[in-house]
Amino acid sequence: MGDQDKLLNEVTQREYQYGFVSDIETETISKGLNEDVIRLISSKKKEPKFMLDYRLKAYRYWQKMDMPKWAHLNIPEIDFQDIIYYAAPKSTPKYESLDEVDPELLATFDKLGIPLQEQKQLTGVAVDAVIDSVSVKTTFKETLSEKGIIFCSFSEAVQEHPDLIQKYLGKAVPYTDNYFAALNSAVFSDGSFCYIPKGVRCPMELSTYFRINASNTGQFERTLIVAEDDSYVSYLEGCTAPQRDENQLHAAIVEIIVEKGAEVKYSTVQNWYPGDKNGVGGIYNFVTKRGICKGDRSKLLWNQVETGSAITWKYPSCILIGDDTVAEFNSVALTNNYQQADTGTKMIHIGKNSKSTIVSKGISAGKSSNAYRGLVKVGKNASNSRNFSQCDSLLLGNQCGAHTFPYVEVANNTAIVEHEATTSKIGEDQIFYCNQRGISTEDAIGMIVNGYAKEVINKLPMEFAVEAQRLLEISLEGSVG
């Protein structure tokens, strides 16, 4: 083994930084899933009847479904009866003031770099912190409500804004959509709700931070964002989990409704625990994210940096219903060791002059597998619609895999659809060139990877971009050449 390989191996063994477990008293229900469990979750959350009915319909539908097999993933059998479907930090479910918060819990978020004290907020980001199954704290609620913006936990929204929930729940992702969407619809526990009224430009970034803490539990959260006519919001989502030998299931749903002339920017830095270097443990991240550009001239941007999870199955998508709508999907997905990712997007063009752009940058290292899967569909009425897709893969070492599965269906002959793809490799000669200029192998790989991903990272809000760059650097393991 050359010195360079040795160094690379050392980099490989760098530990996942967020792998700690917090000692928080947790209330969990017993393992397993049946209608009684669903009723229990619903009653714990004191939900109105329409919610319970929705959950039960979803559950009954899910029972008739099979686990999807089409992804380029090797998913071990999941025993859905061996999972705890509800876990919450004990004591009060929602804190009025930070003084009431379990100090251990505060320390947890401090460690994660998520400030819950508003006075410590320098960057002007409002945070909804979700730990295991419940939201523990939402910051800046009052400031936002002055503008009529609703930003709260999903459970709270069900209590306080049932009309809005009933109107929009399942509109972008119906429970019949897929296996994990059905499961989520049956058992989801919490998440964030965000409503931007007509003509309002949200004055700060809204952000939800998800943390799995309890063991043997699944996390099933739900995010719903509604942007009324001519409004604007930028939304951030981050996530981490402790380091454990078991695999934990995370099956979330994100729904976004964008009305006439409104714009929503949704950025994710996904950093669930990816498993150790031998592929033991890690989160199964099976997520359904979809937005509807409902009104004319509405705009939806998905930006994601994916470095975590043992298995990622995720396709943030847009349905461009209105005329002159715009959608973007910008993604960097990094896999290392034994991580597997099958991720991409769907752009469904229905309105006239609708435009979509896809930029996907895959980075594969170690023995990982990284697939881009995308669908561009142009309906027969979507005259003059356009799509441009660019899918690049970067390989580190020769034991990883990169795959691209682009699907294109065009039913209107005035549409223009373009697809570009490249595959490249970080070479030993590039590393040596950097070394010779005084740059260490670690820094060289970080620099090359960040250069490669720059186009996407630049689309992230500032503080997230810095975080994402650092993540790419520390997530890099695997051999070169």
Partner: protein, 250 residues
């Protein structure tokens, strides 16, 4: 500054250097010439720490350090610079970012704080002027889409930025037209001082018209077989390498 003793090295199991000795003092320019396969590039790569090459024996002292014991990046930080025969393209990484990282790593090694952005850009401007490099080159990704001549000029520009004690120019003249050759040579000469030294590895005498060596060494079969002043280069140009082979009794 540099003392190479009985250096033996191989690449892919084949021994290329067979007991090479060389001493370089500050202020000196050494030319190393020799036919194809003599070990010229191997010497440049071994000195800069390319791990494709295996050291079999011998020692190299560089300013009091055991050079062979240092990582490639620390050799660079100690002041050893290699102008690559084939500079490598790094797409997506801007020259500015690349050089800023490199310069600041060098500074960190000497316990100096990183340069402020303004100071760094000023330094870049000055060095660009010194080596007459087109200012647009530094706005691009490292060597990406550069012509052969641009790549070599860029090597000399990097040399100017890093201010090495010892520069090894590995066939910097290959692929250069006469104008580019002159620019590169002028750059090297402008950077010359009584404290630094240069090893010029080349096939041809023509570069030595511009970069005048104090010593010319002939490398043959992994060993230095002849050392003389600059006139040796002219003699080689005239007689070719067969003359050496004959002298070696082959």
């Amino acid at each position: 500054m540099l003392k190479i003793k009985d250096l033996r090295a191989s690449v892919e199991g084949k021994q290329i250097l067979n007991g090479l000795n060389l001493e370089v003092k500050p202020g000196e320019v050494h030319a190393i010439m020799g036919p194809n396969g003599a070990g010229k590039s191997t010497l440049a790569n071994v000195l800069s720490g390319n791990d494709k090459y295996d050291i079999i024996g011998g020692s190299v002292d560089f300013g009091g350090n055991d050079l062979l014991d240092l990582s490639p990046e620390n050799r660079s930080r100690e002041g050893l610079f290699l102008s690559f025969q084939y500079p490598v393209e790094i797409p997506g990484v801007s020259m500015v970012n690349f050089l800023k990282t490199a310069v600041n790593e060098h500074r960190k090694y000497r316990n100096l704080p990183p340069l402020k952005a303004g100071d760094f850009l000023k330094m870049m401007r000055e060095k660009k002027e010194l080596v007459h490099i087109d200012s647009t080159l530094t706005n691009r990704s490292v060597n990406e889409g550069f012509s052969g001549g641009e790549k070599k000029k860029n090597e000399i520009f990097q040399m100017a930025m890093l201010q090495p004690k010892l520069s090894i120019l590995d066939e910097t003249d290959s692929g250069l037209d006469i104008d580019a050759l002159r620019i590169v040579a002028n750059g090297v000469n402008a950077l010359k001082s009584k404290d630094n030294a240069t090893i010029v590895v080349t096939h041809y005498q023509r570069l030595l018209d511009y970069i005048v060596p104090d010593y010319v060494h002939i490398l043959y079969k992994g060993r230095i077989v002849k050392t003389a002043g600059k006139e040796l280069a002219l003699e080689l140009e005239e007689k070719g390498y067969d003359w050496i082979k004959e002298e070696m009794g082959e």
